[in-house]
Amino acid sequence: MNGIAILIVIMLPILGGALLPLLDFDARKARMYYVMAIVLATSVLCLSLISGSEGTQFVLYHLTSTIDIAFRIDRFGSVFALLVSVLWPLSTLYAFEYMSHSHKRNRFFGFFTMSFGITLGVAFSGNLITMYLFYELLTLSTLPLITHDGSREAKVAGVKYLVYSIAGATAAFIGMIAVLTRGGSLEFNVIGLGSAVTEANRNFLDAAFLFMFFGFGVKAALFPLHGWLPTAGVAPTPVTALLHAVAVVKSGVFAIGRVVYYTYDAGYLAGSIVQKVALWFAAFTIVYGTVMAWKELHFKKRLAYSTVSNLSYILFAFLLATPQGLTAGLLHMIFHGLMKIALFFVAGAVMHQSGKTYVTELGGFAKAMPISFGVFTIASVALIGVPPLCGFLSKYAIAVAAVDEGSVSGYLGIAALLISAVFTSMYLLTIVVKAYFPGEGFDPASLKDVKEANWYMTLPLIALAVLMIVLGCLPGGLTQFIAGTLADAFPGL
């Protein structure tokens, strides 16, 4: 029964989205109710599945004796599903207003809704092959969202995204096949490679790991494979916010987490040379992303580079291959989702209300858009990592995990985190200062036409701000939920 429920929760938005162009709503309200109903139903169903049906496994069919399409609800996937099913309705609400003047709204909301189901498919996959399937589908379903406005720039960004993503997924696929050929299991209910790990196989498996790490690293925007992400910022803001800060990029991170803790295991990686290499890349990306964000003046691109940096926080935590690393990474996956989507929503609100796209043009905006910039300030301070806001906790957890792990690569990562914190304050607080204190010579009349967006856009912002504060002060329930992954990934613990 519950197996069917997994299928329903995945297929409902996919079919619902696919049908949308056929239904061809003329009235804006009608489409809104339809899309919202599907998204909310999916979210509610998904949350009830997470809370009640953990451990459900379900094989749809066997492709071969070793490859099957299977679904599974475990805590690791549930954390990801929780994140997207909370953020999707908020983003959809925001998108209604943001896209209200756009063309081809049926197409947009169709693909937007389909992506929800596909992302849940990634979360609830029972093995790497199934996950790979949804992972590729996600690339395809989000492509039309990137190219939505039809400009040349958007098409170029779309092609770039496609090439990067497919190439990455292919590399990951090679890694998967390599693991299979040596007798490893890709099922997530089997932790580790088991008897496949022998002295003779070791180098081969190391190479396979790197293939998967860098392959999935494309979506996780790992340097030097991150190039598509800032370019994809031409997409409408709900897409950049939800997909390029949460769903798509975190699918990459999530996949690497699966590879590290489920396909391989912590014992295999701990202390190995591949772990070091991967950690160094993550640490470097943390610094690289944050410096690029600081140099970038385009508002959304700045945030995109900030995402590049923050995704590698999560990768870094995962790659520590310790229980603390796993939980710290998941915590940052959730918290970064909340913070970054809020920041993007503000950038989008500014674009929507005033057409301004560069951070240098934001002088005095805080007075014109008080809610947006209030939330922006909270999210900025949270992302820098000031307690008692949520970003502090996850950064703290990552750093403490690195201290406990105690290797030189771990300390390198701590240094990267600290450097990044300073740059984060520089690239975000300059915006805050500019918006609140434009200084002398500022003409308030220049902003008299700029107003706060309506509640479709401000309500999600306020909800996110509340979450950032509440989860920062009282993270107990969430951390306990996340700690549930340990029983799975560290059976001996």
């Binding site: 820098i384 000031v386 008692p388 300073v422 200084g439």
Partner: protein, 436 residues
């Protein structure tokens, strides 16, 4: 810490806790008194500036965070208050809205956040290698856990202490201070220089005595390095002040130098030196607030900002310049004014510690710096009261009571605390004793 109150339990290890101990109470009293006096002064000075509602909002919020900082009972709470104090005091620096002041505010912000981030790094390691994050006399590190990791822990201690030193203007993270303090409105400069720098000092006291512990640090390269940094700062600050013509900037360089006197005492790590440090923290707050308020008064009535423009001004503004003279005598450390006793304890504490070279080098540099202090402060009063022959008559007048009364109270304090030194000294001696 007594009367510990838990505001919020974030996780088992991370809690927001406040409590009180003699050192914290001392800093709390000090900053609160200063805040009130400067606040009274600002009621007149505000005629000079716009956006007063905003100014006083952030003025009070900064005090709230600073006061919370003095009562923070653990590392996390202290870090939180420290960061928010930075964020909330930043608008005071950029209040004038000129491009320079906004640039200065950002410089202040990023230096402070950089320092705080280094400080935060300490917490990561204390979390693992310590037994608790709560401030405990003697330190919280677990000897069993740090065995074999001493080099690492010493580096962490050094970096995190130097990080919080950014707020106290410790070389090499001092550069924001002479940029940010002069551009702020005079009341803000006064509390920034007189009080907020002390927040850095308090954080360092907490780290040295109540987190890492004197046991661990005494006699190590970390202690040496920190003392050397403090001495460099003392000397460099005085030299820079000596060569600076802009009055508020001269005072800001003087702050760089003087706060490192306090840090020198903290780093010397014995009771005498710590007593000297706490005394000097009090004296310097009183005197530096007074100096900045005098500078503010002069700017308010005459718009003169450079020392070289003040020839003969003392005859028009005798009360202001008279007070300025008292503050100068105090800061140089001429008995019986406040400022003598603290240096006495700092020097004798250093001599009794027996560190190679540094034990006698420190008093020598203090002495040299005192001479420089005389060199950069006395000429202001001398030229103010005794202009050279043929100087044109200066324009200026004495201000309103709102501005003069706080200055006179501070000047009186400088004299009285110097003459009747024992109550404060005894109280601080008790406070210093609780740290060991």
């Amino acid at each position: 810490m007594t009367n510990v109150y838990t505001l919020l339990k974030i996780t088992d290890k991370l809690t927001l806790q406040f409590g009180s101990d003699p050192t914290g109470r001392f800093f709390l009293c000090l900053v609160t008194i200063m805040w009130i006096l400067v606040g009274i002064y600002a009621q007149k000075y505000k005629e000079h500036q716009k956006h007063n509602a905003r100014f006083f909002t952030f003025y009070i919020l900064t005090w709230v965070m600073l006061a919370s900082l003095t009562m923070a009972a653990n590392y996390l709470t202290m870090y939180l208050c420290f960061e928010f104090m930075t964020l909330l005091s930043m608008p005071l620096v950029l209040h004038n809205g000129t491009p320079e002041s906004i640039a200065a505010a950002k410089k202040y912000l990023f230096y402070s956040i950089f320092g705080a981030t280094l400080g935060l790094m300490g917490m990561f390691f204390v979390n693992t290698y310590g037994t608790t994050l709560a401030f405990t006399a003697g330190g919280v590190l677990d000897p069993a856990k740090i065995a074999g990791h001493e080099t690492l822990i010493l580096w962490v201690a050094f970096l995190s202490i130097a990080g919080f030193g950014a707020k106290a203007g410790l070389f090499p993270l001092h550069a924001w201070l002479p940029t940010a303090h002069p551009v702020a409105p005079a009341p803000a400069s006064a509390v920034l220089s007189g009080c907020i720098t002390k927040a850095g000092v308090l954080c360092i006291i907490r780290l040295v005595y109540q987190i890492y512990g004197v046991q661990l640090l005494r006699g190590t390269w970390v202690q040496m390095a920190l003392i050397i940094l403090a001495l460099i700062t003392v000397f460099m600050g005085s030299m820079m002040a000596f060569g600076e013509d802009l009055m508020k900037k001269r005072f800001a360089f003087s702050t760089v130098s003087q706060v490192s006197y306090v840090l020198l005492g903290v780093f010397t790590m014995n009771e005498t030196a710590l007593l000297g440090a706490l005394l000097h923290a009090a004296y310097h707050s009183i005197i530096k607030d007074g100096l900045f308020l005098c500078a503010g008064t002069i700017i308010f009535w005459t718009h003169k900002e450079h020392v070289s423009e003040m020839k003969g001004l003392g005859r028009k503004m005798p009360v202001t310049f008279g007070s300025l003279a008292i503050f100068s005598l105090g800061l140089v450390g001429i008995p019986p004014f406040a400022g003598f006793l603290s240096k006495w304890y700092l020097a004798s504490g250093s001599l009794s510690e027996g560190l190679p070279v540094l034990s006698w080098l420190a008093p020598a540099i203090l002495l040299l710096s005192a001479l420089l202090t005389a060199g950069y402060l006395f000429p202001i009063c001398i030229h103010g009261f005794f202009p050279a022959e043929g100087e044109p008559e200066a324009e200026g007048k004495e201000g309103s009571a709102l501005m003069l009364v706080p200055i006179l109270i501070l000047a009186a304090a400088t004299v009285l605390i110097g003459i009747f030194a024992s109550p404060l000294k005894d109280a601080l001696q008790a406070a210093a004793a609780t740290m060991f």
